[in-house]
């Protein structure tokens, strides 16, 4: 493989001149630049990113930490981030925390060893202490869940609004004993939806019962398992923290011959593609993950370009999507 010295020798210029050509410097003529770039191509010379990183202090990489790549909502966010940054010549280091705090910490260490210029994180049960050191030295954007008091930009959809809309809809359809499967106890997205749930119940004079509130790790498998627990407690409706959990609940109902919408109403959150294609399509809330990913990337890119965007908070308005998994009145 050719080195920068080979290219310099071939062109009869110094290595510094080759470097200037590669960095599109204005200190050399256009003609020389083109001659050098052509030589690089002919000789198969590729500049090394590690060497360039040391000089420019830029890796041209963005780290993205998500909870679960096989959940389509997060896949959509990843696609939004990657399409945005790639158009600007950046690559994506994708890290799948599997909703585990230890994985997340490992990735943060890994990424901040000079592997990326900035980080977008969808944190797991976040607390300020987990991120404040890193946020001081690395541009960082949080999405979906935030850590109270942390000085970073944050983007999410309005979980209180989305939670309000869907629980109001469930009550309007006549459901009165609505079980809820939440995410982790420190998930702000989950907590906001829970806050909405409690407020809407109160506004409708329905007594709150903590026996039908369950925290979870937000997976398909847990939806399947927790469906049984809630149904044993006589719920007439289950509001799941996301569509993937709701699909676990639905699978349980199939197996037990429980009629969805008649015997039990089911609602999810996210509006992933398959929620519209179920035998009884799922009532849910659309968060537009791809847009959220693009906007998170935009916030980070602004920081990388030196614009002051710290502490910028963007809240997107989600949309209620009414389908047949809850009865119609």
């Amino acid at each position: 493989m050719a080195t920068i010295k080979d290219v310099a020798k071939y062109c009869g210029v110094s290595a510094m001149t080759v470097s200037r050509a590669l960095n599109n410097s204005t200190e050399i003529s256009q003609e020389t630049k083109e001659r050098i770039l052509k030589a690089c191509q002919e000789l198969g010379y590729k500049p090394n990113n590690a060497a360039r990183s040391l000089i420019t202090k830029k890796t041209k990489m963005v780290g993205l930490i998500i909870p679960d790549i096989t959940n389509q909502y997060y896949a959509n966010i990843s696609k939004g981030v990657s399409s945005y940054i790639e158009a600007l010549g950046y690559g994506l280091v994708l890290c799948n925390s599997d909703r585990k705090k230890t994985n997340e910490q490992g990735y943060l260490d890994f990424l901040t060893e000079g592997r990326c210029d900035g980080i977008i994180i969808l944190p797991v049960n976040p607390q300020k202490e987990d991120y404040e050191q890193i946020a001081k030295i690395t541009p960082m954007v949080m999405a979906d869940n935030y850590a109270e008091g942390l000085d970073v930009s944050f983007i999410s959809s309005d979980n209180y609004y989305g939670g309000t809309k869907i629980v109001e809809h469930l009550i309007k359809q006549g459901y009165r004993r609505i079980g809820i499967i939440l995410g982790g106890e420190r998930s702000t997205a989950s907590n906001e939806r829970f806050r909405a749930y409690k407020t809407v119940l109160k506004n409708n004079n329905i007594e709150f019962d903590e026996n039908i509130v369950i925290y979870s790790n937000a997976t398909f498998e847990e939806g399947f398992i927790l469906a049984e627990k809630l149904l044993e407690k006589g719920v007439d409706c289950i509001f799941a923290i996301n569509d993937t959990v709701a699909m676990g609940v639905i699978k349980y109902c199939y197996l037990k011959g429980i009629k969805i919408s008649e015997d039990v109403g089911i609602a999810g959150y996210d509006n992933i593609e398959q929620s519209s294609m179920l035998p009884i399509p799922l009532t849910t809330v659309d968060q537009n993950g791809k847009l959220l990913g693009q906007m998170a990337a935009g916030l980070l890119m602004d920081q990388l370009n030196g614009e002051t965007v710290k502490n910028k908070v963007i809240t997107l308005e989600p949309k209620l999507v009414i389908r047949k998994s809850c009865r119609e009145i």
Copy 2:
């Protein structure tokens, strides 16, 4: 942020000794090593990956190029790759080619600028010339589709076997005019399934009709559009190149009130999670994407560890999954 010099000063040793401690060298005592590592932690010193890369020539990163992150089959492969390499201290640079040759080329350029130690690629319409230069200088593993004559390791499931099993099943259920939606014309996975399709038709004395064979970009949207074209040509069954395309076909049938399995049989490929949860669950072939991803990562890691695995070819046996989208006889 502390530098290596700060750590050296703090410990009363040279920067070289700190570097040796960080690289777990045997040239310094265990006691000194521990003292230095503790100091790194206390002072918040982090070794820079770019600097280390230049010395060790290792980035501890693996590049993965996939066709579509929002397709769950590829998400499963990504998860398999990342879980395998992360256990070995490597990170994943994820690149989503969107099945576009120009994107793929851009990523290969990007990755080979010293951004990763090796590449796993699920190539788009591959040809030897597209990869042979890169394969000479960068350890590379191909998955799913291969380029004839290229000297790299390759892993896929047995597409001829999977194609044979599913088309035999369709004929056994009484379907005679089976339309087929293929992938790209140079996709070997698609071509192998097509070869199986033609052989099974011949073995069953069914005339091959090229009018009901359509190449595609293998997306949900194309499944929806091409369903109409095939149904106009009087097919009694549609075999789609993957479950995502099959779901596009199914969505078209829903909208038009066409009865799946009675009016038209539908079969897919991949066995993604939602194919079992459709109103009429999808007959398909299970490829086990996560395992395939893990094994591809294993092949690459062997190369990175200096083992001779070039040209190793692994073929996994897929499984026919019979469900109700094709009539039962």
